[in-house]
């Protein structure tokens, strides 16, 4: 249990578009950082530390934070970068605040993968001896992992198109989403296989954008310009790399992350205590497995949780009311976007996708498609 809570003081996301040619990477970072500070009603002088999440190979620059730090607000300030997914910027920023050394932090991440051959770049993550010569990339690995889930879950292939249709329907109403057109489950299940069992309509087109959150200590948050949203608990975890495990990934990292976040937040029955969740849904299989790993559904009950409408708007626990990654695929950065969407819900500022009166929600980020590492945040508005 954390005795001190971290508060979210404000946040912003740039417009998400397929390709941003009017700004270079650092200008995109600057845009998000400025907007987040403005949202929090703060100026750069009030920031104690800047925490970035980014990956060089995706940015096409080595040590890309060298150029991104100052446009993120770090000129002559404490700054640090993690090369884990965007949600880890929030993990690290919370830890730095809880250390007592910093009162405020800007957590920021970005994704501008339109500039490079992402599928090819993703092959670089694989073990050069045992995996890389075998034609793996993010989508191929995710498909293999999805097939391993299907064994004990006969209704998985039926649930996957329902999840895509749900999220794209939610995203169609969200002005912050990138893909704004709804799609029917039938259209999803009649689209071609990219890599069986994953279909073309289950892998969302990627977009460019940047996301930033301003975080503060409990003391600082109590005098913030806006009512803060509180991070009640957070956790993170890393599972096996594919080579070491029998089944490539059973979301062990997510189970560990959720257990840690729930213990800190005092959550015993997540399905009842959480009013909504924003989770990584790079494919619908990721979302369905997250239902189980997060304890929203029983083991093996993930597909039914989607098919009976429990995760839809108006269901027992709406999942991805924002439209999720299916509607806004900010590669390697979407976790911070999930936290921002949860923050906006709990601030009653989510616009057309606002839920009635959420008091407590969850946000989850994962390291793109193989999903080895996960971060979980439990957030409250009181």
């Amino acid at each position: 249990m954390v005795s001190q809570r971290v508060g979210i003081l404000g946040g912003a996301q740039t417009a998400l578009v397929g390709r941003r040619d009017d700004v270079r990477l650092e200008e995109l970072v600057f845009e998000a950082a400025r907007a987040a500070l403005a949202d929090a009603g703060m100026v750069r002088d009030e920031l104690d530390t800047i925490v970035m999440a980014g990956a060089d190979q995706m940015d096409g620059r080595s040590i890309s934070s060298m150029m991104a730090a100052c446009p993120a607000g770090a000129y002559l300030k404490d700054e640090i970068r993690t090369t884990v997914e965007g949600s880890y910027a929030a993990v690290l920023a919370c830890l730095r605040i809880l250390s007592g050394e910093f009162e405020t932090a800007l957590a920021i991440t970005w994704s501008k993968t339109s500039e490079g051959p992402y599928d090819l770049i993703s092959t670089l993550s694989y073990d050069p001896f045992y995996h890389r010569p075998l034609a793996f990339n993010d989508v191929v690995e995710a498909a293999a992992v999805a097939s391993s889930y299907a064994g004990p879950r006969g209704d998985l292939a039926e649930a996957a198109p329902v999840v895509v249709a749900k999220n794209r329907g939610n995203g169609a109403a969200n002005p912050r989403a990138f893909l704004r057109e709804a799609i029917t489950p039938e259209a999803v299940s009649s689209s071609r296989y990219v890599a069986y069992p994953i279909r073309r309509a289950e892998v969302p087109q990627a977009c460019d954008g940047a996301v930033a959150l301003v975080l503060g200590s409990q003391r600082r948050a109590l005098r913030s310009a806006r009512p803060p949203v509180w991070i009640q608990g957070f956790g993170w975890g890393t599972g096996d790399y594919g080579v070491g495990a029998k089944v490539p990934a059973e979301f062990g990292g997510l189970r560990a992350a959720a257990a840690m976040a729930y213990a800190r937040a005092g959550i015993r029955d997540p399905g009842r205590e959480l009013d909504f969740a924003e989770v990584f849904d790079g494919t619908p299989y990721h979302e369905i497995l997250a239902y189980e790993a997060l304890g929203l559904a029983a083991a093996g009950g993930g597909p039914a949780f989607a098919l009976d409408g429990s995760s839809a708007r108006g269901g027992a626990c709406p999942v991805n009311p924002s439209g999720g990654v299916q509607s806004a695929n900010l590669r390697f950065a979407s976790g911070l976007s999930r936290i921002l969407e949860a923050y906006l819900q709990l601030s009653h500022r989510a616009g057309p996708v606002q839920l009635a009166a959420p008091a407590q929600g969850l946000a989850h980020g994962a390291t793109t498609y193989p999903a080895q590492s996960h971060a979980v945040f439990v957030m409250r508005n009181s």
């Binding site: 090819l120 092959t123 045992y130 191929v140 097939s147 391993s148 890599a195 069986y196």
Partner: protein, 157 residues
């Protein structure tokens, strides 16, 4: 969005990385690849803690966090744990369609990935049924072999 800049066509500067690496395979994997090349056999390493047989071999068990010790021959038969049939082309990957699967070879505790050949992939549902989890496969060795993971692949047993 571009305040103060006149409208115009985007300006794009090309960039290219073409970087060669010489990856050290390490003594443990060197032995594995040597056995594969010279004796057409697949070897795993046993963890003295949990007794798991790690295939492909690792010099350490990341769960017990100790060095692995003995070599154990595994396979050539094994069981499918996960698979995919790739139907669309990707940059840098082979021409589709093809199958990659994770297979737990008999005697091993972990699954190992490789291509699966000999399955008619023209009808996805039918192909997927033949590749279903739990189905048996057999390692088939190339001739000649180069000491690479592609020195073998799987086919349905």
């Amino acid at each position: 969005m571009s305040d103060g800049a006149p409208a115009g066509q985007p300006l794009i500067h090309p960039g290219q990385w073409n970087i060669h690496y010489d990856y050290a395979v390490g003594d443990t994997a060197r032995q594995f690849f040597t056995d594969l090349r010279d004796h057409a056999r697949i070897m795993g390493r046993r963890c003295p803690g949990c007794q798991a047989v790690l295939v492909p071999p690792r010099a350490y068990c990341e769960r017990c966090f100790v060095k692995t010790t003995d070599w154990v021959e595994v396979g050539p038969l094994g069981t499918i744990e996960a698979f995919t049939i790739v139907y669309e082309p990707f940059d840098g990957l082979p021409r589709p369609p093809y199958v990659v699967a994770y297979v737990t070879l008999d005697g091993a505790s972990t699954a190992m990935a490789n291509f699966v050949t000999g399955v008619d992939l023209s009808v996805p549902a039918a192909a997927a049924q033949r590749l279903a989890l739990g189905n048996r496969v057999e390692a088939v060795f190339a001739d000649p072999r180069e000491g690479l993971i592609t020195d073998f692949h799987f086919r349905l047993a």
